[in-house]
């Protein structure tokens, strides 16, 4: 972590995280909470619109929240596929 970076208390991790972490929290996409967490302090939405390819931006902005059980079952199916 860059010592000069500002930190945000991450409600998902239960710890502090820098912006760089939030930008890659979902693999090749930013964390879904990044705008809610950072927009008041940093124009993160404008930044993402500028740097994300249009397809990635739409993917980011179009993600739907899932029920926990449903997301667990998706992960189970993915894990079964990887273990075959």
């Amino acid at each position: 972590m860059n010592s000069e970076e500002f930190l945000m208390r991450c409600p998902r991790l239960g710890g502090e995280a820098p912006l760089t972490y939030c930008l890659q929290e979902a693999g090749d996409l930013p964390c879904q909470r990044i705008v809610a967490c950072w927009q008041a302090f940093f124009p993160v939405e404008a930044h993402l619109r500028r740097v994300l390819p249009p397809q990635k931006w739409e993917q980011f902005a179009g993600r739907k929240p899932k029920e926990k059980i449903a997301s667990l079952l998706e992960l189970v199916e993915e894990a079964k596929g990887r273990c075959r």
């Binding site: 208390r9 409600p11 998902r12 930008l23 929290e25 693999g27 705008v35 902005a61 667990l72 189970v76």
Partner: protein, 453 residues
């Protein structure tokens, strides 16, 4: 001298958990399988949970017996004291009486063992040898570590690498309890190896850690996965908190006007509140408030944050919007309850108007937590600070309204292992103001080589 605390005898510990599903005024829609679109059945969950816990997940009995081996372990720190925050009351100068359940009394320092102990027991009883789970900063991982040690289960915890490197103490606690704590992404799973191959310096994420923990459990007949929040059976186990509180308050002839808890995934909030929600459903006048995190109050306090778009709560608030370059759905802006993995039971109660959700930003929560520490002594866990901020706000309302109020809240854990969070707050590293142009440029520079954008 005023009474400071109410302590139950060991023999007075509740012998049953309370299941809110039996009293919901409107039924909750069952979760749907993402593959088939049909309601999820027990067999769908069998690869990751033992059948005895799956039965609890879908149970509709009002009361569920707490097994004797679980009670024996609970008695190591339960019943927890119900305390009166007289010093804090004095500092606030409001017409309120503040009572709190001190869940920091457990060995890991939080409410999490209430379900960790139960889950370890049920897995052991089902013949499971090893559990796996994920953890962020380690609150859940450490609680499950202690529980598994007590029931002779092996445990693997996939800890998000950024936390693994920043937060050594909880992983050391896990090691002391005999757990194998692995930084995620790891080379233990196909999911982890794929991430490492593409991004060797990945700091990990909760999503990656969950994938690894589930992969670690799936395919091993004697292994299962464990989750510390959100699910119905987790909330069920936590109700021991509120049930104890009801007994303790009854002993001193007090009933709260307001019951409060912080709500991340919903388990500690549910633990203190669900027995009182039952009272409310049956006509008792009591407010129930969930205090959730909001780094950005101007966004999350908008009315849309809790305005569910559908009864199943599975779609974005405004799903009909077409994505474009001038529009970001509210689901992206709103940090509200449904957007960070809130328990369906709690979301449903908010939607029904039985529970009120309020959001508090990180600076007001730490400010409240420091005030608490300087009056009541105990340094609260950062999550607990959310509900303390809510208590401060409620006391202010009471002062303005000139009404006396009794507030009950769940002190979900102490913050002794989270002092780095206090350091970030007290040293000004926790972002608390709109960044200047210079600071923005510096932030942008720090991410200019960011590989994935």
């Amino acid at each position: 001298m005023e009474q400071r605390k109410v302590v139950l005898a060991d023999s007075e510990i509740p012998k049953q958990w309370y299941n809110i599903l039996s009293d919901m005024p409107t039924p909750m829609n069952p979760p749907l399988h993402p593959g088939t679109g049909k309601p999820v059945g027990p067999e769908d969950l069998a690869p990751i949970f033992p059948m005895n816990l799956i039965e609890q997940e879908v149970a509709t009995d009002r009361w569920i017996d707490i097994p004797e081996p679980v009670l024996e372990k609970y008695l190591l720190w339960r019943p927890t004291p119900l305390c009166r925050a007289l010093n804090f009351e004095k500092a606030l100068g409001a017409p309120v009486r503040i009572y709190y359940k001190y869940e920091g009394a457990s060995a890991p320092g939080s409410h999490k063992p209430n379900t960790a102990i139960a889950q370890a027991y049920y897995n052991k009883a089902f013949g499971i040898k090893r559990l796996s789970t994920e953890t962020g900063a380690g609150q859940w991982g450490s609680a499950l570590s202690m529980a598994c040690a007590m029931f002779g289960l092996e445990l693997r915890v996939f800890m998000v690498k950024i936390s693994f490197e920043q937060k050594p103490y909880r992983r050391l606690m896990m090691a002391a309890w005999g757990t194998e704590c692995i930084p995620s992404p790891s080379d233990r799973t196909n999911a982890g190896r794929k991430i490492l191959a593409e991004h060797p310096d990945s700091p990990g994420s909760l999503g990656i850690a969950i994938s690894e923990a589930i992969e670690d459990a799936v395919g091993n007949e004697d292994s299962r996965y464990s989750l510390g929040s959100v699910l119905n059976h987790v909330l069920l186990h936590q109700t021991v908190i509120g049930l104890e509180a009801q007994k303790q308050l009854a002993q001193i002839g007090v009933y709260p006007d307001v019951v409060m808890g912080c709500a991340g995934g919903g388990s500690n909030f549910a633990g203190i509140s669900l027995p009182f929600v039952r009272d409310k459903i049956n006509g008792k006048k009591v407010s129930v408030v969930a205090a959730e995190p909001a780094s950005c109050p101007t966004l999350t306090r908008g009315p849309f944050a809790y305005d569910f778009g559908d009864t199943a709560m599975t779609t974005p608030l405004l799903p009909m919007y077409t994505l474009g370059h001038d529009f970001v759905p509210e689901s992206i802006h709103a940090g509200g309850l449904r957007y960070h993995g809130m328990a369906p039971i709690v979301s449903h109660l908010v939607k029904e108007g039985i529970v009120e959700a309020r959001a508090y930003d990180q600076i007001e929560t730490f400010t409240a937590g420091v005030q608490w520490a300087r009056t009541e002594g105990v340094i609260p866990a950062p999550e607990t600070n959310h509900v303390i901020a809510a208590v401060v706000q409620e006391a202010e309302r009471a002062k303005q309204e000139g009404k006396e109020k009794v507030i009950l809240f769940n002190f979900s854990g102490h913050g002794i292992i989270d002092l780095s969070a206090y350091d970030a707050f007290l040293s000004g590293k926790l972002t608390q103001h709109k960044l200047s142009d210079e600071e923005i440029q510096r932030a942008l520079k720090s991410i200019e080589n960011f590989p994935k954008l």
